[in-house]
């Protein structure tokens, strides 16, 4: 048997199932970038598992020729936790959406991120319930008119990255379905991070919430509305790259470069900062408030991983006390003999 890994192609990761998302759905692009990225990791196909909950995005595992589980609504992180603890040798992905991950599954998402299991979570955020045909989701903006909010939503939206940073996630990133190079690179970095990687992908639902991310994806306007984060670089954006983010006390502000303001005055990105404060500040910059929305890696730090720690404990106990011995176990209390 050859020790070299066979060279795989995106086609090797396609399952034999017909993809059944609506034509024009942003999910197609995410699937395509995933198929493109997976063969570059050097991980054998049989070692990869995709786990999803319920929703449009959660059909994802059926379309990949890896191991997969389409589970129940909101619980994918919990299934992934058990699998990764039992089988640390596997690369485990969780595919979820804004309803699945943030509403019914908010509890599991939170605990999974704080435990820092070595898994990758990709949250497709389309700000709507698609599979149930158009009710508002936890990320729908205030005032959003949907089938279940005919007079406009009065629910304050949840911001996935702020939540993940609040749980002290060790890898936090954002990308956009149609920004294919950026998305591929972001997924690759997520895959290579050791610990829970949390990636929010702005994804367009062209049937129930078309254009929700136009400001971030439309070629004509996106450069002014999006800021690509690069580690160690100043926060610059704009079609002409003439705008930047400066700190005014504890608050970020948008400034124009020139007229005495130079790059060195700007906020510099540091994805490795021990404290998550900078990442949190970035996650709070929102289009509606006049800020460009950052994409890329907000935070990438190294911390102990639950699955590794659990397996270390098992190993350490075995090393210290030896393999389990039933005779010893059965006789560990007081015993007596009847003859």
């Amino acid at each position: 048997m050859s020790l070299e890994l066979p060279v795989l192609t995106p086609a090797d990761f396609a399952s034999d199932q017909d993809v059944r998302w609506c034509p024009g759905c942003g999910d197609y692009s995410i699937l395509a970038q995933m198929k493109k990225m997976l063969p570059t990791l050097g991980v054998p196909r049989e070692k990869i598992v995709f786990i999803s909950g319920i929703g449009c995005s959660s059909r994802f595992p059926y379309y990949l020729n890896t191991y997969g589980m389409h589970s129940i609504h909101g619980r994918a992180p919990a299934f992934a936790t058990g699998l990764k603890c039992a089988r640390p040798d596997l690369q485990v992905w969780v595919i979820t959406g804004d309803g699945d991950g943030l509403s019914i599954g908010g509890n599991h998402l939170m605990h999974c991120i704080r435990r820092n299991l070595d898994i990758n979570i990709v949250l497709f955020n389309n700000r709507i319930y698609g599979l149930t045909k158009g009710q508002y989701s936890p990320t729908s903006p205030l005032g959003k008119k949907t089938k279940s909010t005919p007079y406009g939503s009065i629910d304050n939206p949840l911001h996935p990255l702020s939540l993940a940073i609040g749980c002290e996630g060790t890898f936090i990133a954002r990308s956009i379905d149609v920004n294919i190079k950026h998305l591929t690179e972001t997924l690759r970095r997520a895959a290579n991070h050791r610990g829970t990687s949390f990636v929010e992908v702005y994804q367009n639902c062209n049937v129930f919430n078309d254009g929700a991310w136009n400001y971030a994806s439309d070629r004509d306007v996106r450069s002014d509305n999006i800021l690509e984060l690069e580690h160690g670089k100043p926060l610059i954006f704009g079609k002409d790259r003439n705008k930047g983010i400066r700190l005014n006390g504890m608050e970020p502000e948008v400034v124009n470069l020139g007229n005495g303001i130079c790059e060195d005055d700007l906020l510099f990105h540091n994805e490795q900062a021990t404290e998550p404060s900078l990442a949190y500040l970035l996650s709070r910059m929102r289009h509606q408030d006049g800020f460009p929305e950052p994409i890329g890696v907000f935070r990438a730090v190294d911390k102990p991983r639950y699955d590794e720690e659990l397996n270390h404990q098992v190993q350490n106990v075995k090393t210290q006390f030896g393999e389990g011995n039933l005779t010893q176990l059965f006789n560990s209390g007081d015993t007596w003999t009847v003859s």
Binding site: N325, L326, T335
Partner: protein, 634 residues
């Protein structure tokens, strides 16, 4: 009385009366240490070779208001020189540490029984806390019992007055008085001729880091013993000979512990490692705690964020090839129901433990009941049958865990294990198996495929079980999920005929289990007047009541269901042999409902939900009523 010293226990000088068995209950405030005292009496009696059965009974609150009736904690021990199956109906002796314990427990003491009270705790304030307008020691309440008033608090203080810590400090009065539970223990040990040595060893181990506390408890125990030997209240003490149990080595085991050990053993026998996902809940938490110790067996425990995550993590681990287990009580099962349906649909092995407690809702968390049978059968949406097995006694939990795993891994199906609070916290002698004699087997996972042929994850064997292909195996990549799947390929299918076929296959798979489990056994006549049919923790009371009925010359048989789904293949045949079927249950008639639905048999129910197990006497009375009157209506 003589000043106690740390000498060997003095020789007995009084008359000794031989008994076949005795039932003793220690009752006091939640903070009085009754559970420790009871456990010690249990252990010591087991070491004396008696057969034992116990019934700890404590409030849901950790520290209910001191001295109140709500705060009373009790521990009942039945020890005997013959084989016994229950913790005993009536008490031969009751120790009451305060008025609340006295008035809430006295009803269970048999007339003429020994009643030992701590008379120091019957002051006006104690009476008020217990809502006693009169002192029950003086108003005739205790007439007809052998009342022995002992100034336990005073005697304990006296016994420990010279104890000092390493830096010369005397114990405070409060700390000193807390040793009185060991004074009571010493007195009971004298009364029933128990060897104090195992408990003295326990005290030294438990309080080893605080030598003055260990010394004080030891002195209190000896003072209690000496008091019995010296006081004129007792003219004699009792002896209970060792029981004639089958030869072998024994240890004393509690239900939850036996369950955990059974799981560990099943994993060892089948060459897998356990993943246990659980969320703390009374009375199942001790299973999580016990398993978390056994990492040397490769046990991975995961205390999940909630009940749902607990079962989902276990299903994930099962997909990965682990022996996956989740444990909870009824309210937790309610939360797990959707995931149980998924596990059934995926057809993965999984053990789901329900240590039942009083319901509905939060119900009676620390009290026993067997009212989750229908929940186990039907709590899921859709046509989702699951196998159900129930433990009958603390030691039986060991066997049930192993059998459940055998079926679950053989049939690729989640199995529900029912225990209950009575079994979980109760203890009995367990004959230690010889580990080297336990059979080992290998679970077969399909091997890598390199010919490029598609893998068929829902191809079935002769019993309709499917292959357990685990991630990491090249060529077997496949997807499983909760959507209906096409037969054999496992691909999503909404085809009407396929859904019918898959539903039938999954049901038939459960039914097929009846072909590989033991048939129902009957003790007593195979045909006759009455069959007592039991399941779960009522086994002991039912087997004892039926035997007594036969000794009275009645035509009464007893059978006990281990599997509730599927039923053993011969059940209908057995039921047809009797004029009447009596089904005692600690619920309002759940097994009766299932039997009527399945066999059109009009069984008689005997039901109660009072947080307590059946007494043998109440069952015997019901058996007599039916056999004498032929009356079906209770």
């Amino acid at each position: 009385m003589p000043t106690p010293t740390i000498d060997s226990v003095p020789h007995l000088t009084k008359e000794i009366i031989q008994l076949e068995g005795a039932t003793v209950r220690l009752a006091g405030d939640s903070g009085d240490g009754m559970q420790i005292t009871g456990s010690q009496l249990t252990n010591t009696s087991a070491l004396a070779g008696n057969d034992i059965a116990t019934f700890p009974d404590f409030p849901a609150e950790i520290r209910a208001p001191k001295g109140t009736r709500a705060g009373v904690s009790g521990f009942q021990v039945h020890f005997a020189s013959e084989e016994i199956f229950t913790p005993g109906d009536e008490l031969d002796a009751l120790v009451a540490m305060n008025p609340a314990a006295l008035v809430t427990n006295l009803g269970d003491l048999k007339r003429g029984g020994i009643l030992i009270v701590n008379e120091d705790s019957f002051a006006e304030k104690d009476l008020k806390l217990a809502h006693c307008t009169e002192n029950p020691l003086e108003d005739g309440t205790t007439d007809g019992y052998r009342l022995i008033k002992v100034p336990m608090s005073k005697l304990t203080l006296l016994a420990v007055k010279n104890v000092t810590s390493a830096d010369g400090e005397h114990l405070g009065n409060k700390m000193a008085e807390r040793c009185k539970n060991f004074f009571a223990t010493g007195l009971i040990y004298w009364l029933f001729g128990r060897d104090p040595e195992p408990t003295l060893k326990f005290i030294r181990d438990k309080f080893g880091k605080k030598p003055e506390i260990a010394e004080a408890n030891e002195l209190a125990l000896r003072a209690g013993w000496n008091y019995g030997e010296t006081t004129e209240d007792f003219a004699s003490s009792f002896r209970i000979d060792p029981a004639k149990l089958p030869p072998g080595k024994y240890t004393n085991i509690m239900g939850n512990q036996a369950l955990a050990w059974g799981l560990v053993t099943a994993a060892w026998q089948s060459g897998v490692e356990i993943f246990y996902g659980s969320y703390p809940i009374t009375p199942a938490s001790p299973v999580l705690e016990e398993l978390s110790v056994h990492k040397s067996f490769g046990v991975r425990t995961f205390q999940a964020e909630d009940e749902i995550a607990a079962i989902c993590s276990a299903i994930g681990a099962s997909f990965g090839g682990a022996m996956a287990v989740t444990g909870t009580s009824g309210p937790g099962i309610a939360l797990k129901a959707e995931a149980m349906g998924l596990a059934m649909m995926l057809e993965l092995p999984l053990l789901i433990i329900n240590v039942q407690r009083g319901g509905p809702s939060t119900g009676l968390p620390t009290k026993t009941e067997q009212s989750d049978l229908l929940q186990a059968m039907f709590c899921r949406n859709g046509e989702a049958p699951l196998p159900v097995i129930a433990a009958r006694s603390p030691a039986d939990c060991f066997e049930v865990a192993r059998e459940a795993w055998k079926i679950s891994s053989r049939m690729m199906i989640p199995v529900i294990i029912l225990s209950d609070g009575y079994i979980a916290n109760g203890a009995e002698p367990w004959q230690i198996p010889e580990a080297s004699e336990l059979p080992r087997w290998t679970i077969q996972h399909p091997q890598a495929k390199e010919n490029g042929e598609p893998f068929m994850p829902y191809q079935r064997d002769e019993l309709l079980s499917r292959p357990w292909a685990i991630p990491g195996t090249p060529g077997l990549e496949h997807r499983i999920g909760g959507l209906e799947k096409q037969n054999i390929t496992g691909n999503i299918s909404y085809d009407a005929a396929n859904h019918q076929a898959m539903t039938n296959l999954r049901a038939q798979k459960v039914a097929n289990i009846a072909t590989i489990i033991e048939p129902l056994e009957v003790d007593g006549p195979l045909e006759g007047e009455l069959l007592v049919l039991s399941w779960g923790g009522t086994y002991g009371a039912c087997v004892t009541a039926a035997e007594r009925a036969r000794n009275l010359g009645l035509s009464v048989a007893h059978a006990h269901l281990r599997w509730l789904n599927p039923f053993p293949a011969n059940l209908e045949q057995v039921l047809k042999g009797y004029r009447h079927i009596l089904i005692p249950e600690l619920n309002m008639g759940q097994l009766r409902l299932l039997l009527r639905a399945k066999f059109l048999i009009d069984a008689i129910g005997f039901n109660k939900v009072q947080g307590k197990p059946f007494s043998v006497n109440e069952l015997l009375r019901e058996i007599q009523r039916i056999t004498e009157t032929g009356d079906d209506a209770p």
